[in-house]
């Protein structure tokens, strides 16, 4: 039947390649042929089950993170590491999902909220709050109330930013990215300036605003972040099919009965909230979202959001948890993870740009 051939098409494709390899290597001798055949089958199976594989890798990473180099200090290590792990998981989900949704909304695989300055916007809002409320009243603010205020402001500001960037039909993508990058730098510079005005001789203040660091986490923020993640997950999961339709473009989405304005508004809210959450927890990370989305698009079997949303979260979490484990426990270079991620992400960005160039040529 037509339906069954469609459902199994990917699997038959996979087994076809493995049998082809089997046939071609038969001349090399029975033993190596069988081994190669097995390897190919294994590889094909891995390619066909990205979510399960990713989940397994994540579980292994999490176990390693919690148990490596504890040296018996379980009472001390477990709660501390547990909190850090939770933070990394939250940030991974937040950045992965927000970037993926942003790419769906903007219909482009190179754009990310960070690239367009959304996370530096958040840092700026924070600095502005400190500046206007004054240092004393600021520190006495309940962190949760402060965080909620920041999220509300962030949502309003990102709506404006989004409208500004996408109001004219931005056929020129490069110009859009450029303008967004400039906005990002403007926000960052303003934050730095305000930080200097507040605290003129503090090198630390200046530094901490621009480094993302995965080492220390505010436990109170962790609670509300988790709550936010769960709520957004519910909404996003409900919208997953509508997001698929968005891949066809705004015109076709309208044609197929999607209430585009409402969906775009909802997605943007989720994106703004998630970006704010991630930035509040670890600071601005420019290229991380781009990196995980590009990886996800490579390993996903198809473009439907049902699979990609889960996969992007898993991939992001793996990057952070496994990466932090390796750098902190194995290589003893804590705090370097963000640099490495930015480096890898920057290279990936250049690669994506070059590939899109070649395609358009």
């Amino acid at each position: 039947m037509f339906s069954s051939t469609k459902l199994t098409s990917t699997k038959t494709g996979a087994t076809k390649t493995s049998t082809a390899i089997d046939n071609s290597s038969s001349a090399d001798g029975q033993y190596s042929a069988a081994a190669q055949g097995q390897l190919a089958k294994l590889w094909a199976w891995i390619a066909a089950h990205p979510k399960s594989i990713a989940a397994i890798i994540l579980l292994i990473s999490m176990t390693l993170f919690m148990t490596l180099n504890v040296n018996g200090y379980w009472d001390f290590a477990l709660p501390l590491r547990g909190k850090k792990l939770l933070a990394l998981i939250v940030v991974g989900y937040a950045i992965g999902v927000s970037t993926l949704l942003f790419q769906t909304l903007t219909h482009n695989p190179i754009l990310t909220p960070s690239l367009l300055g959304f996370d530096s916007l958040y840092v700026l809002l924070q600095s502005l709050l400190v500046f206007f409320l004054g240092a004393i009243s600021f520190t006495s603010l309940d962190p949760i109330a402060k965080f909620t205020l920041e999220i509300v402001l962030m949502f309003g500001a990102s709506l404006l930013l989004f409208k500004l960037l996408f109001s004219k039909s931005s056929q020129d993508l490069t110009r859009l990215i450029l303008v967004g990058v400039i906005f990002g730098v403007l926000f960052r510079s303003l934050s730095a300036l305000i930080a200097r005005l507040i605290n003129p001789d503090d090198f630390v203040v200046v530094q901490s605003a621009s480094y993302a660091q995965f080492n220390t986490v505010n436990p109170q923020l962790l609670g509300i972040s988790l709550f936010i993640c769960v709520i957004t997950a519910i909404f996003v999961w409900r919208w997953r099919y509508q997001c698929d339709v968005l891949m066809l473009g705004q015109a076709q989405a309208v044609n197929l009965g999607i209430n585009y304005q409402r969906l775009a508004f909802g997605l943007l809210t989720v994106i703004a909230v998630l970006v704010a959450t991630a930035t509040a927890l670890v600071g601005p990370v420019t290229f991380f979202g781009l990196l995980v989305c590009a990886l996800t698009n490579r390993i996903a079997r198809h473009m439907y959001h049902t699979e990609r949303l889960i996969l992007v979260s898993l991939v992001a979490m793996i990057c952070l948890v496994l990466g932090q484990t390796i750098f902190e426990q194995v290589l003893d270079m804590a705090g370097v993870l963000s640099v490495v991620i930015e480096l890898a992400g920057g290279l990936m960005f250049l690669a994506l740009i070059f590939m899109s160039q070649r395609r358009s040529l």
Binding site: T104, P109, Y241, Q242, M247, A251, N255, G257, M303
Partner: protein, 256 residues
């Protein structure tokens, strides 16, 4: 019947459409022609609800019910009118049959049924797209892509279809096949097809009704033989043409 009442539209300070009132009959192929800048695409966008309706009303009649594009629910409208514009960029790697399945979205909302599969298969056969069914869209030629997109909106199974210059990338064979297919849809399945065309001869040969537009206004509505004459062509395009007749339909020749 498609009812357009007092449609006016401006972009910035420029008035594009001037108070258009029009009633289009059902179960016909209706061609919309006119010179560049006449406002055809704008009218198309307004009808297809791609642009917000600035003034006036647009409604599609289905089973004695008038479905107004402003007040009717999005999902119902998706089952009423299907449209294909000129800019169609699909993000991501999609196969042909997957794209066609999207055409059924108003019905399955993301979870396709066997019934949907059936419809897709029929359309694949009808449009001679079976050999391409498993191919990725990015590997298709411009003409093949266009056929797939049109097949997609036919999958949407709506009583009204709106198409904006769909024949642009198609060679003579496929353009002719498509127009014949659209005529079949309108005559056998009582669908109303409104199609913006650039080539007057295609409009003359295949349409039942021709609507001419100039400078944001509708200048004529009627059968091809009545609307496409030497005077009207001169008025519309400022070109002196010779009008021949073939099997009761006009053929425009621009002689040197």
């Amino acid at each position: 019947m498609i009812k357009l009442n007092n449609i006016s539209h401006h972009i910035g300070k420029q008035q594009i459409l001037h108070d258009i009132t029009l009633s289009l009959p059902t179960a016909q192929v209706i061609a919309l022609i006119g010179p560049n800048g006449a406002g055809k695409s704008t009218l198309f966008s307004v009808m297809a609800r791609l642009q917000p309706l600035q003034s006036g009303q647009v409604s599609f009649a289905v089973d004695n019910e008038e479905r107004d594009i402003v007040s009717c629910q999005a999902r119902t409208l998706a089952k009423t009118v299907a449209m294909l514009g000129q800019d169609n960029h699909v993000q991501g790697r999609l196969r042909v049959h997957e794209l066609l399945m999207f055409g059924r979205y108003p019905y399955h909302q993301g979870q396709p049924t066997a019934d949907d599969q059936q419809k897709i298969q029929e359309i694949l056969e009808r449009f001679e797209l079976e050999p391409l069914a498993e191919r990725f869209l990015s590997t298709l030629s411009g003409g093949q892509r266009q056929r797939v997109l049109i097949a997609m909106i036919v999958c949407q199974d709506t009583p009204y279809l709106l198409l904006d210059e769909p024949l642009n990338n198609l060679d003579m064979y496929h353009a002719g096949r498509l127009m014949r297919e659209l005529r079949q849809l309108s005559h056998n399945q009582q669908k109303t097809v409104v199609i913006v065309l650039h080539d007057i001869n295609q409009a003359a040969q295949f349409a039942d009704t021709v609507v001419t537009m100039k400078a944001g206004e509708v200048t004529a509505v009627g059968r091809p033989a009545d609307v496409i004459t030497q005077e009207t062509m001169k008025d519309l395009y400022n070109v002196d043409v010779t009008v021949l007749s073939h099997q009761g339909r006009p053929v425009i020749v621009d002689t040197v």
